[in-house]
């Protein structure tokens, strides 16, 4: 198969300069731009025997492939948003050809423009708050006291008491950590223009043993990036660790579903698949 498709990475404002210059995309092909009506699609050509629908179903299950592709996609998006205002498109969005991308830019121009306005001059920061359950428990005075008094009792009761104290301590420290996480979120949200809460990641994903009690994304004005970062750093306490990632492309603030726009009912379109409603999305606070 020598068929090719057009892989779309992001949608940007046309600025006159080429935001894709020198970039190479998924599969190592050069990244190009496709323009229409003041909007630029950041694209590259991909072989359909790798990015065709059937191939993708297989490839997405191949974690090596997924990782390579995800990183390549991310690199392009990341490089582009450093040059221009751009909104990332979800991984492996492949069109039949450039003309289709132009159609898209034209048809949904309003939406895209609105979205780009929202993220102009802003970047996304990721903030994760971790609490180490052991540290949290150790810093609680009830532990030591409980242990000492229980020591004189018969071992069974003492054991139970210890267990109970441990559990209570864990619960308390978890609650404390959660409320600290809330405070962190609140403090950061005052600096950010918009914020979203993502699900806390599993230790295997985060690579850290501690509990993740906050996984937030914050859209922050460029000028306030430094302030945001230093506030995030200052919110650390002996009990909680605050991890900052970013600045990211505004992934979490350009979530735009198809089907909500004037796309549906257009003649000649292949039937809208009306994808299953995305449920359980993160909380979103309306941008101020």
């Amino acid at each position: 198969m020598t068929d090719t498709g057009t892989y779309l990475y992001a949608i940007a404002r046309s600025t006159g300069e080429n935001p894709a210059e020198g970039l190479s995309g998924v599969g190592g092909t050069p990244v190009r731009t496709v323009e229409r009506g003041g909007l630029t699609g950041i694209v590259s050509t991909v072989p359909l025997d790798e990015f065709g629908e059937r191939a993708l179903r297989r490839n997405l299950e191949d974690l090596r492939w997924l990782e390579t592709t995800a990183r390549a996609h991310h690199q392009v998006v990341d490089a582009v948003v450093r040059r221009v205002t751009a909104a990332p498109v979800r991984l492996v969005t492949v069109y039949r050809g450039d003309e289709q991308v132009r159609d898209l830019l034209e048809r949904r121009r309003e939406e895209f423009t609105e979205m780009l306005d929202m993220v102009t001059g802003r970047r996304e920061w990721g903030v994760k708050v971790y609490v180490d359950p052991q540290v949290a428990a150790r810093s609680s005075p009830s532990d030591a006291a409980g242990g000492a008094s229980a020591g004189r009792r018969s071992s069974g009761a003492a054991y139970l008491e210890r267990r109970r104290t441990d559990l209570r301590t864990r619960e308390q420290s978890m609650r404390r950590a959660l409320s600290q996480a809330e405070q962190v979120d609140e403090a950061l949200a005052t600096i950010a223009v918009a914020s979203r809460r993502h699900r806390p990641q599993d230790p295997q994903l985060s690579g850290r043993q501690e509990w993740m009690v906050l996984n937030g994304a914050y859209l922050v004005d460029d000028e306030r990036g430094g302030e945001f970062a230093s506030v995030a750093g200052s919110l650390r306490t002996p009990e909680i660790d605050v991890e900052l990632t970013g600045p990211w492309a505004p992934y979490s603030f350009t979530i735009l579903e198809s089907g909500e726009s004037g796309e549906s009912g257009e003649p000649g379109e292949p039937g809208e698949p009306g994808g299953p409603g995305r449920t359980g999305g993160p909380d979103e606070r309306a941008p101020r």
């Binding site: 498709g5 993708l56 071992s155 009761a157 990641q201 230790p203 460029d222 990632t245």
Partner: protein, 241 residues
């Protein structure tokens, strides 16, 4: 329409934000996947490859099904382990409640133990019936009798085991008693669950011999007697078919 000024507004260099906060490094795969798979513009309708019908959850689930091990190596199974969604917290609360109940029961038992330690318990042990026989007794008496069990090993270590999980402890005891030292394997099965007791044909002869070999010990107490007779009857019935 100009984009925001390129580069320079946010300085993404490490030194800029100073120490204290971990920041920009080659973003970890989990963070990237979290974003490129779950976030960003989703476009459907005219795309060549329509991923909407491979909803993300499906992708994730497939990853999980197809190569759990690899997925775990890469640490991308967060959809499965979200403590806030998978109810781990609830089970913690439940465990807590259970422990509280158990503690209360233990404390009651202990008080009773101190006040009511009945000397008449002693003969039972001398008769060689030992604690096993108490297992067949009511919950209430069982609870009271526990402190009397004399154990060959370090009692402290064992009682920790016991309190950690009484059910498990007793199960372990049963297993141990089922070993070569077991004197009455047949009655044992019976006590494990009288209603479920099924004589095992291959053991029948052995049980019989066991029974004959030891009539004295078995007559130690009324309760014991009854249990044995029941057990014996079951065995006889089993033999008929």
């Amino acid at each position: 329409m100009r984009g925001r000024p390129s580069q320079g507004s946010v300085v993404p260099s490490s030194s800029y934000y100073g120490g204290g906060v971990s920041h920009r490094e080659p973003a970890n795969l989990g963070d990237i996947l979290e974003r490129v798979l779950d976030k960003g513009i989703v476009i459907a309708g005219d795309i060549r490859v329509n991923l909407l019908d491979i909803e993300l959850l499906t992708i994730k689930l497939r990853l999980l099904i197809v190569s759990v091990e690899t997925a775990k190596e890469l640490g991308i199974d967060w959809w499965e382990h979200d403590p806030w969604l998978s109810g781990k917290q609830r089970s913690l609360e439940e465990e807590n409640r259970r422990l509280r109940r158990r503690l209360a029961a233990v404390e009651d038992g202990e008080r009773e133990d101190l006040e009511l330690r009945p000397p008449r318990r002693q003969p039972a042990e001398e008769r060689g019936i030992e604690s096993e026989d108490y297992l067949a007794e009511s919950e209430d008496r069982r609870a009271r009798s526990r402190p009397y069990r004399t154990e060959p090993e370090d009692p402290r270590a064992r009682s920790e085991d016991y309190w950690a999980d009484p059910e498990d402890y007793w199960a372990e005891r049963e297993r141990r008693r089922a070993g070569p030292e077991t004197r009455r394997a047949g009655a044992q099965d019976y006590r494990d669950g009288p209603e479920n007791y099924q004589p095992r044909s291959r053991d029948r002869r052995a049980e019989q011999e066991d029974y004959r070999a030891e009539p004295q010990g078995r007559r130690g107490g009324a309760r014991d007697d009854w249990a044995e007779q029941e057990g014996y009857r079951s065995r006889s019935e089993g033999r008929r078919d």
